[in-house]
Amino acid sequence: MDYSNTQTICPFCGCGCALNLEVVDGEIVGVLPANDHPVGRGSLCIKGWNAHSFVQHEDRLKTPLIREDGDLREASWEEALELVADKLGSIKSEHGPDAVGVLASAKCTNEENYLLQKFSRAVIGTNNVDHCARL
């Protein structure tokens, strides 16, 4: 029997409104505005009020997937990461690092974007890293 709110930042537009995710026993049941935040000041738009609704949607990917004979099948993390490491490594050594392109994300955190561009530049060895800022 657990009910609490976690204050976080809305995943939609760039306004950066804070919102509270209402959690009951591990299930996000709703959203409350953050009354002490300088942008929303206790209000949200319809997207913010519904920012919880896709999080535990049944369509969420739950395991890694690997394409085999044309179709995607479930795989373990170990197998999937092994394959990715292997493939990226061999393409890099065969065609050079610039044969790899990396897309960072306007929906991921700063820390994640930092890490991905570091991965791209330091591990793959390419500046081919971009994201959809223009789209």
Partner: protein, 271 residues
């Protein structure tokens, strides 16, 4: 007052399954369910959140649990209306009533800043009740406007509406699973600005006999629409015509669901 409430909550947590109140952490402040062993020093009293709604949600989910809630005057009025509409079980609820200060009452134009705890089987009051604050001056000003001026005023106000449904979502006495505002028969979906008068008048009509004047809808309105000017006017009519003040009288049911014998209205047509 805060220490008194924290002590009371700690004490009561020994017997209750939890107490709904605001918790302040390094993330911010929001409602939470305090349970025995939790750090009650994180319990705070500001800002306002619709705790009556939270209590209703939790009572429905945990059907045997008995909860407590730290409630202001407006919260207890909302709880009263929710009991009448079978959204709250009063026998499974303990209330720590918190008397608002004069300043708090003034900010909210609150007529009854102290919670009325008489109807509740189990409740305690903390703080010294202060008298009601004067009403929103905009209401009196509004009554002097001509029909055209009124139309222009609301036209302008509702043009700002961004259809967030925040006024409904924050409202402590709105609870229906199926909402008229989301029914395409009444309100054309997907339109911005939402249809006036449909969207706003349906909402206002649904508030007539249940608005407890907590004014959280105005706080939640990103566009700053003074919704409670409209709701205060219609509340006054409900008081004058039907003699009903939402949240005040725990014994009489929602008047729009009752017969004329049980809830008469002052009208020629009612004879």
């Amino acid at each position: 007052m805060i220490q008194e409430i924290r002590d009371l909550v700690s004490e009561k947590l020994k017997k209750l399954d939890g107490v709904v109140a605001l918790r302040k952490t390094d993330q911010g402040t929001a409602p939470t369910l305090f349970q025995e062993g939790d750090d009650v020093s994180q319990l705070v009293l500001e800002p306002r959140y619709p705790v009556a709604k939270t209590v209703s949600k939790l009572q429905k989910r945990f059907k045997d649990a008995k909860f407590g809630v730290v409630a202001r005057g407006c919260d207890t009025r909302a709880l009263v209306e929710m009991v009448k509409r079978h959204q709250i079980d009063p026998d499974r609820l303990y209330i720590v009533g918190m008397a608002c200060s004069e300043e708090q009452a003034e900010t909210c134009y609150c007529a009854e800043p102290a919670p009325d705890l008489d109807p509740w089987p189990e409740a305690d009051l903390v703080g010294d009740p202060v008298p009601g604050a004067p009403p929103n001056p905009m209401v009196a000003e509004y009554e002097n406007l001509s029909r055209e001026e009124r139309w222009d005023f609301w036209n302008q106000q509702f043009t700002k509406c961004i259809k967030c449904y925040g006024c409904r979502d924050i409202c402590p006495v709105c609870f229906c699973d199926a909402c008229s505002l989301e029914d395409p028969l009444w309100v054309e979906p997907g339109l911005l600005v939402p249809d006036f008068p449909m969207y706003h008048l349906i909402k206002a009509m649904h508030m007539t006999t249940r608005c407890v004047a907590c004014r959280q809808c105005e706080t939640a309105c990103p566009a700053g629409i003074p919704l409670t000017v409209l709701y205060d006017l219609i509340r006054k009519d409900v008081g004058n015509l039907i003699g009903y003040i939402p949240g005040a009288d725990a014994d009489s049911g929602p008047p729009l669901s009752l017969t004329l014998a049980d809830a008469p209205i002052d009208s020629e047509l009612a004879k």
